[in-house]
């Protein structure tokens, strides 16, 4: 019987063979039984070599894996199984030498089948000594692990091929042990220049000073997992915002063998987020500024309404006193001039009032509600002087309701009616038509006059503040009325437009959302 370093074989035999009566009854310690055992193994190539490497036995497993029949291979040298690159370095010779010296040699590598195809072999070579300790040959056990190898390669290619993620591994101390193309792309290092280096290289000096790399490994080791975002440094010194997942890797015994690390460059997302935050901060600031401006305007117009009018009252009041107390003694020219002063203060008061209304209209928060169009028009008509009121004809479809603020709508309508009765042709009585009707989802109100009309080139200007087409003696007014109309309607989410022809009258059209 051959005395081999049998325990080496034992480890490689399937557990089903190792179990049971194998090491029990003495009957099994015969060469015959051993032969039967070897011959029944189909998953392992088990054969013997001479000290020179010539094959001197062949089991069915060997035949199955390598493709040779026993008569084809016995007597041939085992170098036949090695690919040319291994032969060039005399790898087979080296393996035998190591096995002869140390007792055994284990290796994994590509081997050749009879048909020339390769398979990934797990190989164990054990020396066989005679009773006096002389080398009489080798036992060789080969397993075909091609499937496992292919899966591993495929997996590695998969990781290697990922370019959007840096996927690499670290040893327990944080030294880089593998490096994919994504890592190369993201961080700028070639695999050969970074493998073996500590991963703290990727961190900013601040983070390194704060011990962040160590703390990350500690956390991952303790909790199995670490996830965070932060700035990392490229080889060229540039920084990128990364999203990182670190997972600890433990062997079956639970010993920490390293870490896997997946890093993604999310700088674009980070920038976008930062920009968004920046925008929202600016917006908040602008809203605050606007609120401040509004508050200033509020204070300003409050002050205008109080302070600007006091001197006007004084001018009017004291002029009135002179007229009342000394009127009889004054020459008529003086009296006329005093009347002019009083008329001027009255106009100034109107201006102040209209300006206040206009600015308030821009600032106040509108509470839109359902407003009855018919009553709004009726209220506005009632504000007209009695003698012109009869010159306005109104036709309103029943049950018209708009989304508006009733006081503003009334002011708008009142301004338009006043406008319509004011700009009549010289010597002609006013003739005004008001029509209100439904148009799909909005309500239209037309106010038409037969007056002097407005030339096309002036039609945009009439809605601007202080814009007048006529002097105050021809047609009195502050020049703010239509500006109030425009702003009021716009703020109520409506539209006002003008159709007019010089000498043929004007139609102002209001459109407001139906309520």
């Amino acid at each position: 019987m051959l005395i081999a370093d049998f325990e080496q074989f034992e480890v490689l035999l399937p557990s089903s063979i190792r179990r049971g009566s194998f090491n029990a009854g003495t009957a099994l310690h015969s060469e015959h039984v051993f032969r039967i055992l070897i011959d029944s193994v189909r998953d392992y190539a088990i054969f013997l070599l001479t000290p020179e490497g010539d094959i001197c036995s062949w089991n069915p497993g060997a035949e199955r894996i390598k493709g040779y029949k026993p008569h084809e291979i016995i007597g041939k040298n085992f170098r036949l199984f090695y690919p040319p690159e291994d032969l060039a370095t005399d790898k087979p010779g080296h393996e035998l030498k190591v096995a002869a010296e140390l007792g055994s040699f284990e290796d994994e590598g590509w081997r050749l089948r009879k048909d020339g195809s390769r398979f990934w072999a797990n190989v164990l070579i054990a020396r066989i000594l005679d009773e006096s300790g002389n080398l009489i040959g080798f036992g060789k056990i080969t397993r075909d692990l091609t499937e496992r190898k292919e899966a591993e390669l495929q997996y590695r290619r998969l990781i290697e091929g990922v370019t959007d993620y840096a996927i690499y591994s670290l040893d327990p101390h944080g030294r880089v042990t593998s490096w994919n193309s994504g890592a190369k792309r993201l961080k700028g290092y070639e695999a050969e220049e970074i493998i073996g280096q500590n991963f703290s290289k990727f961190y900013t000096p601040e983070d390194v000073a704060a011990n962040l790399p160590d703390r990350i490994l500690e956390t991952a080791a303790r909790e199995g997992h670490y996830e965070a975002e932060g700035w990392r440094v490229r080889k060229d010194g540039g920084r990128f915002w990364s999203s990182v997942v670190v997972t600890s890797i433990r062997d079956e015994a639970g010993t920490l063998v390293g870490f896997s690390k997946i890093t993604r460059d999310v700088t674009d997302r980070k920038n976008l987020l930062d920009q968004l935050q920046q925008h929202s901060r600016e917006l908040e600031l602008r809203i605050k500024e606007r609120e401040q401006t509004n508050a200033d305007l509020e204070a300003f117009s409050y002050s205008v309404s109080h302070d600007l009018r006091a001197p006007l009252r004084a001018i009017e009041g004291f002029t009135d006193i002179i007229l009342q107390d000394f009127g009889v003694e004054l020459p008529s020219e003086v009296k006329e001039s005093l009347q002019q002063i009083i008329a001027a203060t009255s106009r100034m008061n109107e201006l102040v009032q209209d300006l206040l209304n206009y600015s308030r209209l821009s600032r106040i928060e509108l509470k839109l509600e359902s407003v009855n169009v018919k009553s709004a028009i009726r209220d506005a008509c009632n504000e007209l002087d009695r003698d012109v009121r009869s010159r306005v004809s109104v036709s309103v479809e029943p049950n018209l309701m708009v989304r508006a603020q009733s006081a503003i709508l009334r002011q708008v309508l009142s301004n338009l009616l006043n406008n319509a009765v004011k700009f009549t042709k010289p010597g002609m009585p006013p003739s005004v038509e008001v029509a209100a009707y439904r148009q799909r989802d909005y309500i239209q109100i037309d106010i038409s006059d037969q007056g002097i009309g407005i030339a096309l080139q002036h039609q945009e200007r009439v809605f601007q503040v202080f814009e007048r087409l006529h002097n105050a003696e021809e047609y009195p007014g502050t020049g703010i009325g239509l500006a109030i109309v425009k702003r009021g309607i716009t703020r109520m989410r409506g539209i006002v437009s003008l159709r007019s022809e010089l000498g043929k009258g004007s139609t102002f059209e209001i459109r407001l959302p139906s309520a």
């Binding site: 409050y302 006091a310 009041g317 004291f318 009135d320 006193i321 009255s346």
Partner: protein, 152 residues
Amino acid sequence: MSTQRNLLLVEDEGSDALLIKRALEKTGADFNLSRLKHGEEAIDYLSGVAPFDDRETHPLPDVILLDIKLPRRTGFEVLEWLRSQPAGLSRIPVVMLTSSGQAVDVNRAYDLHANGYLTKPDTAHALQEMLLDFKKYWLQWNEQPETRLEAD
């Protein structure tokens, strides 16, 4: 037997005070009119501190005409202070007389328990008409509450 009525005008603007005074005089000068120039003065007068400590020469008014925009203490502050005083003083009728017709001011005045709110008209003529009605209502027809404090 009816005693002479007392009207207190709190108005910082000299010309306005003059015009108001003249308009009131034109209604028939059958009452006393005292004018104060700012809110602090009004509070001093009503609390009776020097130089207003003599109630013979500085009697508590039957009605106060109170401007809003005043130096030192605004009309609103004066009104709020007055209404927080012990019963008696706090009952004195107050009518605001101001340039502002803004709703926010009108509402605030009534929230602070003003008894009336008048807006200064643009013309002397309108002012006179308004103050004539005011005088009739507050100094002629209106029943005055007791305003003297027990301590007085």
